[in-house]
C-alpha cells in the first residue's frame, strides 16, 4: 500500500540518484554532462520541497495544530539546502570543480540527515494523523512531484 512515507521516501532516493549522476560526471571532469545532470537533480529537489511546503506540511499543520513544530524545522532546512543548491549551480556555471565538490559534500550530509528525520519521524507522523485525507494528499503529492 502506498503511504506518504513510502511515496516521499522513494522520491528522496530518486533525488539521491540524480545527485550521484551529477557528482560522477563531475569526478570524471565532464563539466557539461555534470551541469545537465545537476539541473535535473536541482529541479527534482525543488519539486520535492514544493510538494512538502504547499501540500504536505499545511495539511499536517491544519490537522494537528502544530505549526511551529517539526514542519517549521523542515522548512528552515529547506532554505539552507536551497542556498546550497544555488551555490553548487554557481560553482558549476563558473566551471569551478573544487568548489562544486565542496558544496556537494556539504549538501549531501545536510540532505541525508534531513531525509533521515523526515523518513523516520515526520512522514510516519503524517501517515498516522492523516488517514482520512490520505488518498487526496497522495494524489496531490504525486501531481506536485510530477509537475516539474
Amino acid at each position: 500500500m502506498t503511504t506518504i512515507r513510502s511515496l516521499m521516501t522513494d522520491d528522496h532516493r530518486h533525488c539521491d540518484d540524480l545527485f550521484a549522476v551529477a557528482e560522477e560526471a563531475m569526478a570524471e571532469n565532464k563539466i557539461s554532462t555534470a551541469a545537465a545532470a545537476f539541473a535535473c537533480f536541482r529541479q527534482a529537489m525543488l519539486a520535492h520541497f514544493a510538494a512538502e511546503e504547499k501540500t504536505l506540511f499545511p495539511t499536517f499543520e491544519a490537522k494537528t495544530g502544530m505549526s511551529m513544530g517539526p514542519t517549521q524545522v523542515m522548512r528552515l532546512e529547506h532554505t539552507q539546502m536551497r542556498t546550497l543548491l544555488d551555490d553548487a549551480a554557481a560553482a558549476l556555471a563558473a566551471g569551478n570543480a573544487d568548489d562544486y565538490l565542496g558544496v556537494a559534500e556539504t549538501l549531501v550530509i545536510m540532505m541525508q540527515q534531513h531525509n533521515m528525520k523526515e523518513e523516520n519521524i515526520l512522514y510516519p507522523m503524517c501517515d498516522q494523523h492523516l488517514p482520512g485525507e490520505l488518498p487526496a494528499v497522495l494524489e496531490r503529492l504525486n501531481s506536485d512531484l510530477a509537475l516539474v
Partner: protein, 431 residues
C-alpha cells in the same frame, strides 16, 4: 520529538571539539613512547610501555573521540538531549585526558599511586558521562537499531570501565586475581562491547549518509549488537567458571559476528552511488580490510590456540584491529563531522544573510588524503615492526607520530579557518 528534528538542540561546537582536537595528541604520545623505547615495546603485550601505549591509543584516542562525538550526536540521531552539554564536556574531558596520562604514566613507571589515581579519574569521567548521557538516552524509546545499539554500547562502556578500574587496583595492590584472563575479557568488553557495538550503531546511520549506499538490512541491524553483548556475557561467565573452552567458543562467535558486519559493510560500500573515493571512504576501506584480517586471526586463535602462542601474535592482532581497524573508522568520520559542524555553526552565525564556506574550504580533501597515506605507512610499519622490531620499531614510532601529528594539524587548521570565517561573519553582521 521536536528536539530530534532540530539542530538548534545540537550542542555548542566547543563541546565535542575539545575531545576531537586533543585525541590525536595521545596517539602522538604513543608514537613517542615507541620512538624512545624502540624494540623493547614489541617483546610482549604485558610490558609496562606496551600497556601504556595501548591505553594511550584506546582510551586517549578512541574513547576520547567517541565520547565527544556522542555528546554531539545523541540529540541528533537519538533525540536524546543531554542536560548542559558544555558542562558535561568540561567535566568529562579533563577527567579523561588527565586520567589516561596518569594511567599511562602509572604503567610506564610502575607507580601504583599513579595507576590508581589514573583509573579513578577515568572511572569518574566515564561514570559522569554514563549518568548524564544515560538519563537522556534511556528516556528515548528504542525505535531504531541505532538507538538500541547505543543503549547496549553504554552497557558495554560501563562493564569495560568497571573491570578496568578493578584491574588497575589489582595491579597496584597485588590482589590475587587471574590477570591474563581478566585482561583479555577487559579488552573484549572494550573493543567489542563498547567500541564495536557503538561503531555498528553509528555505521547504520553514517555509511548510507556519507556514501549513499543502500541501508543496512533491518533484522541483522537489530540482532548484531544484542548478539555481541550476549557473547560477551557468555565470555564473562566462562571466565567466572574458569572454563577456557567456553571462552574460545565466545571468542569464535565474536569473530564471526564481527566478520559478518564488516563483510556486509564492505558489500554495501561496493554498492554506493557516489563515484568519488574521498578520504573518509578510503579510511573506511582500510578499517574494514584490516578488521577482517584481525577477526580472522581471532577466529584462528579460538580454533587453534597453539597458533596464537606464536611470538608477536597478540601484538600483531592488536595493531591490526586498533591502528588498522578502529582508528581509521574514527578518523574517517572525524573528517566529515568536523568540517560539517564548522559549516553548520557558521551557517547559523550568518543567520541566512551571510554565506558559510563549504566543507572543502574548511578542510581540503588533499590534506586529508596526504594524512591518510601517512597513517597507512604507520600501520604497515607497526605491523612489520612486530616481525623485525630491531630494525623497524623506531621508524614505526616516528611514522605514528607523523600520522597523528598530521591529523592534529589538519583538525587545528580546520578550527583556525572556522574561527577566521566566524570573525568575518561577526564583523559583517555588526557593520
Amino acid at each position: 520529538m521536536q528536539a530530534l528534528l532540530s539542530f538548534e538542540n545540537a550542542p555548542p561546537f566547543a563541546a565535542p571539539l575539545r575531545f576531537f582536537i586533543t585525541a590525536p595528541l595521545f596517539a602522538l604520545l604513543a608514537g613517542l613512547l615507541l620512538l624512545i623505547d624502540g624494540p623493547d615495546l614489541f617483546a610482549s603485550r604485558w610490558l609496562p610501555a606496551t600497556l601504556a601505549a595501548t591505553h594511550l591509543m584506546t582510551v586517549g584516542f578512541m574513547l576520547q573521540v567517541m565520547l565527544g562525538a556522542l555528546i554531539q550526536i545523541l540529540p541528533v540521531v537519538a533525540g536524546a538531549n543531554l542536560a548542559q552539554p558544555l558542562r558535561v564536556a568540561a567535566v568529562v574531558h579533563p577527567c579523561l585526558s588527565g586520567g589516561v596520562l596518569l594511567l599511562a604514566a602509572g604503567f610506564y613507571f610502575g607507580q601504583p599511586l599513579l595507576l590508581e589515581s589514573g583509573a579513578g579519574l577515568l572511572g569518574l569521567g566515564v561514570l559522569v558521562f554514563l549518568i548524564v548521557g544515560g538519563r537522556a538516552l534511556f528516556a528515548v524509546p528504542s525505535t531504531s537499531p541505532t538507538i538500541r545499539g547505543l543503549k547496549l554500547a553504554f552497557f558495554g562502556l560501563l562493564t569495560v570501565a568497571g573491570l578496568g578500574v578493578v584491574l588497575a587496583l589489582a595491579m597496584a595492590r597485588g590482589w590475587a586475581l587471574p590477570l591474563p584472563e581478566l585482561t583479555d575479557l577487559h579488552a573484549g568488553l572494550g573493543l567489542a562491547g563498547w567500541a564495536g557495538v557503538l561503531l555498528a550503531a553509528v555505521a547504520y546511520v553514517v555509511v548510507p549518509m556519507f556514501q549513499l549506499t543502500p541501508g543496512y538490512p533491518a533484522r541483522p541491524g537489530w540482532l548484531f549488537p544484542l548478539l555481541i553483548i550476549g557473547l560477551l556475557l557468555l565470555w564473562s561467565l566462562a571466565v567466572l567458571l574458569a572454563m577456557p573452552l567456553l571462552v574460545r567458543v565466545a571468542q569464535a562467535g565474536l569473530a564471526l559476528a564481527g566478520l559478518a558486519f564488516a563483510g556486509l559493510t564492505l558489500r554495501l560500500q561496493g554498492r554506493r552511488r557516489r563515484a568519488r573515493a574521498d578520504a573518509t571512504y578510503r579510511y573506511w576501506q582500510l578499517g574494514l580490510v584490516a578488521s577482517i584480517f584481525a577477526l580472522c586471526m581471532l577466529l584462528t586463535a579460538a580454533l587453534a590456540p597453539k597458533l596464537a602462542e606464536l611470538p608477536g601474535w597478540p601484538l600483531f592482532f592488536g595493531i591490526l584491529l586498533i591502528a588498522g581497524g578502529f582508528l581509521p573508522f574514527i578518523i574517517g568520520m572525524l573528517y566529515k563531522i568536523v568540517p560539517f559542524l564548522a559549516w553548520l555553526h557558521l551557517q547559523n552565525q550568518g543567520q541566512g544573510k551571510l554565506p558559510a564556506p563549504n566543507m572543502s574550504r574548511i578542510l581540503p580533501d588533499l590534506a586529508m588524503q596526504r594524512q591518510m597515506k601517512a597513517w597507512l605507512l604507520a600501520v604497515v610499519l607497526l605491523l612489520a615492526a612486530v616481525v623485525f622490531p630491531d630494525w623497524l620499531a623506531r621508524p614505526a614510532g616516528l611514522a605514528l607520530m607523523l600520522a597523528s601529528g598530521g591529523l592534529a594539524f589538519n583538525l587545528l587548521a580546520a578550527l583556525r579557518r572556522y574561527r577566521q570565517h566566524g570573525a568575518v561573519i561577526r564583523e559583517k553582521l555588526a557593520a
